[in-house]
Amino acid sequence: MLLQALAQVFDPYVLWVILASAAFGLFVGAVPGLTATMATALLVPVTFFMEPVPAIASIVTATAMAIFAGDIPSCLLRMPGTPASAAYTDEAYAMTKKGQGELALGAGLVFSVIGGLFGTAVLIMAAPALAEVALKFSSFEYFWLVVLGLLCAVFIAFANPLKGIVSLLLGLLIASVGLDNPAGFPRFTFGNAELAGGLTLIPIMIGMFAVSEIIRSVSRIDEPWEMAQAKIGNVFRGMGALTLRYKLPVLRGSVLGTAIGVLPGAGADIAAWMSYALSKKFSKEPEKFGTGHVEGIIEAGASNNSALAGAWVPALVFGIPGDSITAIVIGVLYIKGLNPGPSIFMENAVAIYAIFMVFILANLLMLPLGIAAIKSAKQLLRAPRDVLMPVILLFCIVGSFAINNSIFGVVLMLVFGVIAYLMEENGFPVAPAILGMVLGAMLEEHFIRAMIRADGNFLVFFERPIAAGLAIAAFGIVLWPVGAWLWRRSRSAH
């Protein structure tokens, strides 16, 4: 049976499809504004004509590449290609400015591959068991999980936690615009049809990172441009040493990423943020975070690729999407007659084995293709600033338009670009706002639904074991620094 699957995967047509999808995924991921989910949606009509194995292979490969490719502009230009990369954009960009861009990207690549392989291994070995655990999560658990995620944002804010919280609240406020809330009630829409759809994350993210960075760059046009960059030599140099030094962050990131991916509705975006925060929390050198330190990138990079694999656990075992990408994949599986669920492991074992192999292949393929992408990106960015910036800006325009085929996206990009520039000039970090937007809708949805179930009694939020555990973790994160501070004060008072 395994041999059959091998034969199916190593068929020349399938291999060609994988290669083409990888290139496609790299392109989509690298362009700010185009996400891995979009890549998947775009592949659906193409997969209509294919057999199940190449169809799934194309999606798996494209998304794995896309999630990594988002790191390339994120690191070199401070323009995250996907929301998952936004978690560590500033860190990576700081490394680029120090001349260590190659290290940042190389680490991102290698540890993405490791994370992806870890997630795949978990998927292959433990999918059914994990899926059962995932089912134990209800709105109570998700609520605390989201709270934990939001508290992570407070950690990421380096200089001024108060400003970080303001930024986070702003993100939450932006997320509440529109009709898409538990009551279906139009908020802040002013009767406008576009606003009723809510403020889309992607154009705002592009605006807040890319446009504000462009504004900043242009305002410094009198200064010489430091793309101070060592030549990109062997990307793998030093990776061995890094792996040894940071083996705990890699493991932690991969485990957390897979775990979050397994939970339906939580995907690579959240995983990356939480891992980055955890990395800082448990690091032996937390003060280096923010100045251009590779540890956070390692952990978060491993995390977001392992989350991709983890999301397939509930998708294959139950037909329940683990993230937005697998939501589409499930549809494709149905169309191909591969109905996900317990039957798929019995009736279509060969196809499942083939899918697993594709996962492994795709992750391994990321290495050579990723290097090629990094090198070509470096070449492209050698262009003079006066030519490069306008072209990038046009890409941003198109990326903001593309998400909804609406010019309103470009409007959002402009408005929030200016807002973000003003924010950052005043010391307000932008990253927490993005996280607030990613998690805002989830926070409200789960809170309201849990409240309905608890009949208004907040104490019920602590009754279930997993929920209580997460709640304790959340309170712990908040109270620990307070407690430590009080403790230090009392010590110094003696």
Binding site: K136, L179, F185, G197, I320, G331, I452, R453
Partner: protein
């Protein structure tokens, strides 16, 4: 003389024929994020429609407000056949009666192009109650009033309405919990967090087939072709005839030649025998009809649903 007349008439007819081609890519807008049954149907239809029209047909997801955002996008688009809406009939014929004020009016802002398929809601039970049939579930409900919740895939969805009507007609006290889409709702149903869910048959049919969930009743007038051994609520003694259909609509003002063309092609697409089986697998009964029939169904449904919604006390604002 006659030949000249024929030539003149032929030439005069040419522009009318030429008008019937759609010159740009077509956007098929749907009101949900990728991955649901509407999205699936849309992608299947889009893929089959494109070669017939000679234009790419792109599915555009505009989720939000229970199709409201998508409806707005389509009704304000240029009426030249390049922007179409694919939706279930619920937001067009049911939802308007539940709100005092509506920002759109389906019959005024849209023109019906085609009816595609009919669908019903299924009442699915998860492992929480241990019940395998409707009477067993009712007994369980009476014994466990604090767990009397049913899930639906959204506020204002057909599942929500079915639940409300069910509660009214059967006298049971059961409360509604709304989820966004069917993914998480299935997860909680399977995990035993919520005892029952009501949504389109497609959302639960695979689980029903493998025994993880049990669909104990359907909401329509007749049994669904996808689940021939599941009784309707009517058969179980709870009078109900609530079903929906998926249709394609264009902005009002679209020239009738284009509407006719699109309608014809859509009916042909849905009529393909291999698609019939796919649709049935999704719990949808193919019921293709062209623009006129679809418009009539829309109008008659709109009138039919008003008393049902009002009697059920289904008010959303």
């Amino acid at each position: 003389m006659l030949r000249l007349a024929i030539l003149v008439i032929a030439f005069a007819a040419l522009p009318a024929v030429a008008q019937e081609k759609i010159g740009k890519p077509v956007r098929l807008v749907i009101g949900f994020a990728p991955g649901g049954s509407v999205d699936l149907v849309a992608r299947i239809v889009a893929e089959r429609l494109a070669p017939r029209l000679g234009q790419p047909v792109l599915v555009e997801n505009r989720p939000g407000g229970f199709v409201r955002v998508a409806i707005d996008a389509v009704r304000s688009a240029a009426p030249d056949g390049t922007t179409l809406l694919l939706t279930s009939s619920t937001p067009l014929v049911v939802t308007p009666h539940a709100y005092a004020k509506m920002p759109y009016d389906a019959q005024r802002d849209l023109v019906s192009v085609a009816r595609l398929v009919n669908g019903q809601q299924g009442f699915a039970l998860g492992p929480m109650s241990g019940a395998r049939s409707w009477p067993e579930y009712v007994a369980w409900l009476k014994a466990n009033p604090d767990k009397a919740f049913f899930a639906s895939s959204g506020v204002g969805s057909m599942g929500h309405l079915v639940g409300v009507v069910l509660a009214n007609t059967s006298g049971l006290r059961i409360e509604h919990v709304a989820y966004k889409g069917s993914g998480q709702y299935n997860a909680e149903l399977l995990g035993g967090q919520v005892s029952a869910g009501i949504s389109g048959i497609a959302d639960a049919s695979e689980f029903h087939r493998t025994g993880k969930l049990r669909i104990v009743a359907t909401s329509g007038a007749e049994r669904s072709r996808a689940l021939p051994d599941v009784p309707t609520f009517k058969e179980l003694g709870v009078p109900m005839d609530l079903s929906l259909w998926y249709g394609v609509f264009a902005p009002a003002g679209t020239p009738s030649a284009i509407v006719e063309l699109l309608g014809r092609e859509l009916v042909a697409v849905v009529g393909a025998p291999d698609l019939t089986e796919r649709f049935i697998n999704l719990g949808l009964d193919p019921a293709a009809a062209g623009p006129k029939a679809a418009a009539e169904t829309l109008a008659s449904d709109y009138a039919r649903w008003r008393p049902i919604v009002q009697q059920a006390g289904f008010k959303l604002d």
